[in-house]
């Protein structure tokens, strides 16, 4: 049954939230110019870069261990882990793996680095590094590094991540709870308390006063 498929339920859930979001947005239409945006920075220290990459790397090991437990038990070995990394190849996976599942993984890499404050270019480059790290030092437990994955994961992932981020920012800017829920759904990393997703400051100028009003919304 088509209706039993998870993505139909997922789509139905989004539509319901969007409906309630629209209803609330009409009641709570924001009167300000506040917009929810990603605020990039380029002044990362080497330690910050290492921590961001390291946290992602640790996450990759954990997710791989959980999702591939059976495959690791049947096909994995320490010997594979060492020798496979020197023999990359064109893998024999199906297109739903190579295109869709890897794009979804890649967009999580991209959104993680964006949530840390990286520019689009730098988030892409660090996604590429995380993808290489996964291919050459994690997945080698069970298989050889894949040329397709080295390209498709960060590139399609970044493209998908950019789209998801824009959708998430749009929903967050609506400021009603169902829309905010959709914003978190499309970009879970905007949930992190120290993410670089904020409401922008609105510059103001009056006759008797000039300055910067900083708007702040607690999530």
């Amino acid at each position: 049954m088509l209706t039993s498929q998870w993505y139909f339920k997922f789509l139905a859930g989004i539509l319901v939230l969007a409906f309630f979001g629209q209803a609330h947005a009409e009641e709570e239409a924001p009167q300000t110019e506040e917009r929810y945006v990603q605020i990039s920075r380029t002044d990362f220290t080497g330690t910050e870069r290492a921590i961001n990459f390291g946290l992602m790397y640790a996450g990759q090991w954990i997710v791989y261990g959980i999702t591939q437990e059976e495959t690791i038990r049947e096909h994995g070995s320490f010997s594979n882990w060492i020798t496979n990394m020197w023999h990359p190849e064109y893998d024999k996976d199906t297109y739903d793996y190579n295109i869709f599942k890897h794009a979804i993984s890649g967009q999580l890499y991209y959104q993680w680095y964006r949530s840390r404050g990286y520019t689009e270019q730098r988030a892409f480059l660090w996604s590429f590094m995380s993808s290489l790290a996964f291919e050459f030092t994690i997945e080698t437990v069970t298989e050889r590094p894949s040329f397709q994955d080295m390209y498709l994961t960060p590139v399609l992932g970044s493209v998908l991540g950019m789209g998801m981020e824009r959708v998430s920012l749009y929903f967050h800017s609506k400021k009603s709870w169902p829309y905010r829920a959709l914003g978190f759904l499309f970009n879970p990393f905007s949930l992190l308390p120290d993410s670089q997703y904020k409401f922008v400051a609105v510059p103001i100028a009056k006759k008797d006063f000039a300055g910067l009003q900083v708007s702040w919304s607690f999530q």
Binding site: I39, S40, R41, T42, D43, T71, H75, Y90, D91, K92, D93, T94, Y95, N98, I99, G117, T119, E120, Q121, F124, L125, F147, Q148, Y151, L152, V155, L156, S158, V159, M162, Q196, K198, A201, F209, G211, L212, Q213, V214, W216
Partner: protein, 220 residues
Amino acid sequence: MRHVIIIVVSLLFVNIAAAKPVIEELEKFERDRWSEGLHLLVGGGANFGVYVSDAIHQDIGMGPVLKTEVGYFFNDRLAVEWSALIKFNFVDSWQVWDTLFSLGVRYRFEDFGGLHGPFMRAFVGSVVNVLYFRGDPPPGYADFSRVQFEGPMVGVGFGSMEETEKGTVWYWEITATGEALERSTGINMSADVPVTDGQSSVDDHSQLYSVYFTMGIVAF
């Protein structure tokens, strides 16, 4: 004075670092003035292909294509690119999933013929062409659910960039590729794991020629 106090108190609760503008201001990429650095282009469209071998000449029809290019732009005219073309075609009961990975160059010409950002691309690389059998498999692959062909490819493209009122740069491109299918691997699935019979060479001069029309944007 009251305003100053309010601002100072407000600032205590605000992450000032987060409100900093991007320090590294990126030069804007324009259709007829490319900015130096890393750029990602993504687009989609349609492809039309013909398969040729010693024994067969087969039209594989029209199908969708997804195209991405990661380019480093040296200057206003020249870039090197790492690209992928992903396309699908349907022939009788077979489905063709073709991925072309390439390295190439992109060069921008002076405007001509009403085109404001004409460019040309040339690229070489390798291809992974997978044939899914939804019905009868081709001769020699009766025991498999699909076969993966690999080999070299070359391609050229010509197009032009345009710009929307909001400043988004988009492009159209006509591309042609030729690929030689030199090696094949029969594949079956065991649970989620592909099981192969080892790689063998294809010696009937199998080649696939394709023409594409794509439109896309400069994502960054």
